[in-house]
Amino acid sequence: MTGDEVRAAIIDILNDIAPDEDISSISDDVKLRDQIDLDSMDFLDIVMELRKRFNVEVPEKDYGHLATMASCITYLQPLLKDRQFAR
């Protein structure tokens, strides 16, 4: 996956987890939970969806890397580099 594909994959997950929000307008460098209504259970949903969709395990000590879109991409791209993105 390219960086753009990782971004698209995260947006797909956020669309499912926060279906009332406008995900398309989020900025990459602001904390996700400052832009959309996300709580700790939602972050666990992101972790679960990464597990289900891409067989990627995010350990609890790394949850901080999921704070912004930019940090998500930086953290996840190496883990997803061999995965195919399919909408």
């Binding site: 499912d16 987890i17 279906p19 009332d20 209504d37 259970m41 597990r51 289900k52």
Partner: protein
């Protein structure tokens, strides 16, 4: 002779919110009952394929965001819809209500089977690896979930819980609300019952294994209480919640009053897991009459519990003959013939469908009663067509459930 009770002990129904397989508000539900419109249809369920069920089609997004729906349960959605509809119907100024003095009391037949089955199916797609088991499972399956979702949605900070009482639960939610109002624990009760059981295959499969699941080529004719050709229960979802208030509070705000709860009773058969016991049912009915200070002949409409199982209907009819035998003015009907068995919702929902009779004096019928089973013979079953009667002052609702839990409510036409 009715017992004298102080005004503060008189509990009245001031709002009704409901979803039934044939109506999503009291007006539409009542119209369906008077027009003979069933809400039973074919329904796909996991593992079993096509079954017959009563299915609700209320607008879940009327009071919930998509995210709430995703996180919560179907029972929670049914509860939120009914609670918000009840409050809207009551005309109460919700913004001015002290939410710490509101209690939410909901009867449920069971809760959590739907979500558990979904999660087991989910992990079956991942070779039963439990790391794919949802973190939402616990909040979705705790027994207070349906009532708890109401408190989150409506910002109620008073007490909330569910009352597990099999198919007697709907009446029990109302009884609990009444008792808490009389004790002064709350000033407004959101009380009733809900069921989402059709969303798990287990309830169908279990009734099927008991030989008690209704079958018919025409789903609308499958639920046939008292009929010689009845062959079992139609499982249905539904919900009904009342706003209950003490009479002086209701009068102070000029509330519309649907009726006053003047009698209730709960008892137990103490004899079998599933087979009902007519002697205890009759005792429960007599106890409710006694609390209300009424004689059997004072009841105008009796909404029977009968679920269209072969033996269950006979047992209830035996109990009714013991209490009401020879009474010519007690009109008997059954709502399950229209909507199937809405389980935890049944008591409150079925009572609701009869409350408009205080005003219009029409008794809705029991449909699909083509040939009365001689073992179910009773005076005055209103069969297939509604009946206009001279007076409706008292309505009785029976709801009985597994483990021999019996519940009876008596509502009186309101007179100040």
């Amino acid at each position: 002779m009715e017992p004298r009770v102080s005004p503060e002990q008189r509990i009245v129904i001031t709002g009704i919110g409901l979803t039934a397989p044939n109506g999503n508000n009291l007006k539409d539900f009542r119209e369906s009952l008077l027009r003979g419109k069933s809400g039973v249809r074919k329904f796909e369920t996991r593992y079993m394929g096509e079954v017959i069920a009563g299915v609700c089609d209320f607008d879940e997004l009327k009071y919930q965001k998509k995210k709430e729906l995703r996180r919560g349960t179907r029972a929670g959605s049914v509860s939120i819809y009914c609670a918000r509809e009840a409050v809207a119907d009551s005309g109460i100024n919700w913004e001015a209500v002290d939410r710490s003095r509101v209690g939410v009391y909901l009867g449920v037949t069971e809760h959590g089977n739907v979500e558990t089955e979904n999660e087991v199916y989910n992990i079956s797609q991942y070779n039963y690896d439990v790391k794919f088991w949802s973190h939402h499972h616990n909040p979705r399956t705790v027994a207070n979930n349906p009532a708890g979702e109401v408190t989150l949605n409506m910002k109620v900070t008073g007490p909330h819980y569910t009352i597990g009482a099999a198919c007697a639960a709907g009446n029990m939610g109302v009884i609990q609300g009444l008792q808490m109002l009389r004790l002064g624990e709350v000033d407004l009760a959101l009380a009733g019952g809900v069921s989402e059981s059709i969303h798990t295959f287990g309830i169908f499969a279990s009734f099927n294994s008991e030989g008690a699941l209704a079958r018919h080529e025409d789903p609308t004719k499958a639920s046939r209480p008292f009929d010689i050709k009845r062959n079992g229960i139609v499982c249905s979802e539904g919900g009904c919640i009342y706003t209950l208030e003490r009479l002086p509070d209701a009068q102070k705000r000029g509330a519309k009053i649907y009726g006053e709860i003047v009698g209730y009773a709960i008892n137990s058969d103490a004899c079998d897991f599933i087979l009902p016991e007519p002697v205890r049912q009759a005792e429960c009915i007599r106890l409710a009459l006694k609390k209300a200070g009424l004689e059997p002949g004072d009841i105008d409409i009796l909404n029977a519990h009968a679920t269209a199982t072969r033996l269950g209907d006979i047992q209830e009819c035996t109990a009714l003959r013991a209490v009401f035998g020879g009474e010519k003015s007690v009109w008997i009907n059954n709502t399950k013939s229209f909507i199937g068995h809405t389980m935890g919702a049944a008591g409150t929902l079925e009572l609701s469908g009869n409350l408009p009779s205080f005003e219009d004096r029409w008794v809705h019928p029991t449909i699909n009663l083509d040939e009365l089973d001689p073992d179910c013979a009773l005076e005055n079953i209103v069969a297939n067509e509604p009946k206009k009667v001279d007076r409706v002052d008292y309505i009785m609702n029976n709801s009985f459930g597994m483990f021999g839990i019996n519940s009876v409510l008596i509502v009186k036409r309101f007179q100040a």
